[in-house]
Symmetry: C2
């Protein structure tokens, strides 16, 4: 992509009303635009990142055995009344349409997926089954001041699994933990499994937490036995670990995923049973598993940035290479254009800064945008047919022969 | 994919309250599930089709020069008040949130994209620019009885282009027609460009219409000069073509896309101007271009089906090959399993009917689901190491050597 044609521009202006680092950097770099509090438009660079995260999530959910579906955001009131959550969920957006029909905008989809799966499951032979979607959720958050970390509209992957008994659910639940850790690792996040409040039927749910100073959550971390707890379930705020007795420390943290053993909470509400081998009706056991791709995007920015800008992991960078032509020497521009074409042809995702702006602005913007590799072509390197290569996460500069560049990045 | 594990089942039951053929077949085949009038869940087979259509649309929009973005569905009232459409659009879903903040669910996105693009365009050098999104729209349709043809929530591709003057807009508008015809051709639809009512600034808009008996629109078709008109703009209902004077015929039709020269209608409302070469402020000219991928999916079913079921074009079939094992002979099952593995390994998208059901049901379901190629393995063909191949759109049956099958479909 030629940067002169790219929709979305960098700006030095710090956005008003944005206190979070992720919103500040994503807006300043032209990755997203703020429509209103908690509601963002993804510009081309930001959308590329979001799609890469979604693709990673999709791959790991498929490996886990999930089948992708796509449920609506517009959902009928009746389903929410059946579970009492029409009144219980305070962030539920409600609306009314033609014929006084009442709807909720899905803030989560247990109320839709449970009766849906019920339609296709009769016997024990139809279980287990796991379905997931990557879809936009709506939550009327009172405070939406954390950029992509807490949106009123945001991207969510929600998987739901259905089982014959608690053992099968527990087994799948354990497997899901590994799938989740894989997702976060691939996204460059060091996520920790943390016990959190569980709801009606299970003692705990589990959260995936990334320890970082800008986090809103507080986690009691036991570095001895490795079992961590969210502040919300810590009794008497004790620093002594309830499992091994050693001292714990408190870490600030961002929640990037959570999983719940819902057991029969929703299947009972929708009268969802199956016939076992003996012909007897049995309750279906259910779990739910959430990751917010947009929240992951915000979290990665919170964790991976410096005072110059963002530092994208390769796996989710919008482009791998930022090719920057410095100066207005015709030969430099021609050489850069030719290298750009060669990189594109070799399948290397390249952003080419061909804009008519000062060198300083180009270098600052490259730092702000934070692609993994920066290649600089200037009159200084031109004669020797070299290009300067610098990784965003390192200060070392290497000189590379232009003829060898595209091979370096071809996998 | 093994059909025994596939989420979503075929049914012989004709869905209640569905009068359209597309909804009947898509529900009976397990491609979609109806949540309520005009609101559907995409099950795995249906979602695969929808994504293939979206991918075709995306490719053609990129070729046209569009850059993909993603705008929110939740939009602030103010933007709609500025254009007077808060009151004018009768299908707008409106809702209220925390702090009495009022929102509309996007039924279209001129009100969002115009101020967005304004932020990044100052000078003539920033024009032209075209952005598009593939995103879900919401419309509170009074009658939502046409399946995927008229949804209350539906998939939409909306592209918006911005230009320095009317000539540049007109030039892009003409190019968009070809991009649209490419999309429909690739989706197996024979679309015709039809003049329709234009709105404020341009005499006509243009619709892309597929002539078919189940269509809701009536088109005055001139087979002499090729200029067709929507009934809504035909003066005195005359069958005489206003362009060439020859007789026209009337065709029932489904609208699958539409394009508008909006000119300055929205840019004026948002005070969106640019500075020309002489330093003078000029109004920005705008066009908008819509295709509904979910509507395309419904239209293809309306056009491509017979009394046994759907007939998917290769380009959007959820799988290319339906491998069907008949009978419960262990050898047949082993051979089918081995061929399935080989097809998968060769990259052939294959649905393998490994279910323990009667041959008749398998064959009926294969016709209903409508994949392009059906391969049958049975004890009849087993000994000779043959497989029966039949195309969904033909009645001819061919015998193919099993060893040669996977090569047939590898591109």
């Amino acid at each position: 992509m030629k940067q002169s044609k790219l929709f979305g521009k960098t700006t030095k202006e710090i956005p008003k009303d944005e206190v979070s680092k992720n919103a500040e950097l994503l807006i300043r770099s032209g990755f997203v635009d703020k429509l209103m509090a908690g509601v963002y438009t993804y510009l081309p660079l930001g959308l590329r990142v979001l799609k890469k995260i979604q693709a990673i999530v999709r791959e790991e959910m498929e490996t886990l055995g999930g089948q992708e579906i796509y449920m609506p955001a517009l959902t009928p009131k009746d389903n929410w009344v059946k579970t009492s959550r029409w009144d219980e969920i305070d962030v539920l957006f409600k609306l009314q349409g033609t014929g006084d029909k009442e709807y909720a905008l899905g803030s989560t989809h247990e109320e839709i997926v449970t009766p849906l799966v019920k339609k296709f499951v009769n016997s024990y032979k139809d279980l287990p089954v796991a379905v997931y979607q990557i879809q936009d959720k709506f939550r009327d958050e009172a405070r939406a001041k954390s950029g992509l970390l807490r949106g009123r509209e945001f991207s969510m992957k929600d998987l739901y699994s259905f089982h014959r008994n608690e053992e099968d659910l527990a087994d799948f639940y354990e497997k899901s933990k590994q799938a989740y850790l894989n997702v976060f690792k691939r996204c460059g996040l060091d996520a920790h499994i943390v016990e959190a409040s569980g709801g009606v039927f299970s003692k705990f749910s589990h959260e995936f937490q990334v320890f970082t100073e800008s986090g809103e959550d507080k986690i009691y971390v036991c570095n001895s036995c490795g079992r961590h707890q969210n502040e919300e379930i810590v009794e008497n705020q004790t620093l002594k670990c309830p499992y091994c007795g050693n001292d714990r420390i408190i870490e600030k943290s961002i929640e990037v995923g959570n999983i719940f053993e819902l057991k029969t909470k929703f299947t009972t509400a929708f009268d969802f049973t199956y016939t076992d081998e003996a012909g007897k009706e049995q309750p279906v056991q259910m779990g739910c598993y959430g990751i917010g791709p947009s929240r992951v995007m915000g979290s990665v920015v919170e964790v991976h940035h410096d005072d110059k800008g963002m530092i994208w992991p390769e796996s989710m960078a919008p482009y791998q290479v930022h090719l920057v032509a410095l100066g207005d020497d015709e030969k430099v521009l021609a050489q850069a254009e030719s290298l750009y074409q060669e990189l594109i042809k070799s399948g290397v995702e390249t952003l080419f800064d061909d804009r008519e702006v000062q060198a300083g602005q180009k270098l600052n913007d490259a730092d702000l945008i934070g692609l993994p590799i920066r290649l600089i072509i200037s009159s200084k390197t031109l004669d020797k047919n070299f290009v300067e290569m610098k990784k965003r996460n390192s200060s070392e500069v290497e000189l590379i022969k232009i003829a060898k560049v595209s091979k370096l990045f071809t996998k």
